[in-house]
C-alpha cells in the first residue's frame, strides 16, 4: 500500500470514531431536549404571521433573511454557470 493510503485510512478512522462517539451524546431520536424556540414558533405562527404552515412561516418570516441568502445563492450559481459557459470572442 502507498503511504498516502495508509495515512488516509488512519485519519479517516480517527475522525469516524469521534463522529460515531459524538452522535450518541445527542438526545435520543425523537426526544429533543430543549424545544423552547420551536414551541414558541408553533404556538405563535398563526397569530403573528397568519400562516397555517409552520415551515413556510419559518422560511419566509422568522428566518426570512436566510431565504434571501438562499435565493442569492441560486442567483450566484446561475450567474456562475452562465459565466462559465459564455462564448469568448478571440
Amino acid at each position: 500500500m502507498e503511504k498516502r493510503t495508509i495515512v488516509a485510512v488512519l485519519v479517516f478512522a480517527i475522525v469516524a470514531v469521534f463522529f460515531f462517539f459524538s452522535i450518541f451524546l445527542i438526545h435520543p431520536f425523537g426526544k429533543p431536549g430543549q424545544v423552547n424556540m420551536d414551541d414558541h414558533i408553533i404556538a405563535n405562527t398563526q397569530n403573528e404571521t397568519g400562516t397555517n404552515n409552520g415551515v413556510t412561516s419559518v422560511v419566509f418570516d422568522y428566518r426570512g433573511f436566510d431565504t434571501l441568502g438562499e435565493a442569492t445563492i441560486l442567483f450566484s450559481a446561475v450567474a456562475g454557470v452562465l459565466m462559465i459557459f459564455r462564448r469568448v470572442k478571440q
Partner: protein, 111 residues
C-alpha cells in the same frame, strides 16, 4: 505624541524619520571625504574579468528562478519535502483538511 506603546518599547515614525534624515546627512557628509578622482566612463569604472571581454547586459542577466540557486540547493532536503507536500491533487487538499481535523480531535477532544 505619535508614538505607539507596546508595553516594553515604543515606535514613533515621525521621530524615526527625523533620525533617519540626520543619519542621512551625516552619511552624505562622510561620503564627501572620499576620493574625488573618480571619473565616469573611463577604464577605472570597467569591470575586470581576468582580461575577458565583458558580456552584454542581456547575457549577464540572471533569471529569477536561478537567483537563489545557492540557498535552494543547500536546503534541498527541506524543499523536496515541501514540493512533495504540494501535490496539486484536489483529493489531497481534502486529505490535509481531514488530517488536521483528526489531530485537533485528538488534542482538544480527548483533553
Amino acid at each position: 505624541m505619535f508614538s505607539l506603546e507596546s508595553g516594553s518599547g515604543f515606535w514613533n515614525p515621525i521621530l524615526w524619520i527625523f533620525i533617519f534624515f540626520i543619519a542621512f546627512l551625516l552619511f552624505y557628509g562622510i561620503r564627501g571625504f572620499g576620493k574625488s578622482a573618480y571619473k565616469k566612463d573611463t577604464d577605472q569604472t570597467k569591470a575586470f574579468l581576468s582580461g575577458n571581454e565583458e558580456s552584454s547586459a542581456e547575457e549577464m542577466h540572471v533569471k529569477a528562478s536561478n537567483l537563489y540557486w545557492g540557498f535552494t540547493t543547500s536546503m534541498k532536503t527541506v524543499y523536496t519535502e515541501l514540493r512533495k507536500m504540494h501535490t496539486g491533487n484536489a483529493s489531497d487538499y481534502v486529505l490535509w483538511f481531514v488530517i488536521i481535523l483528526a489531530f485537533l480531535f485528538l488534542i482538544i477532544g480527548v483533553m
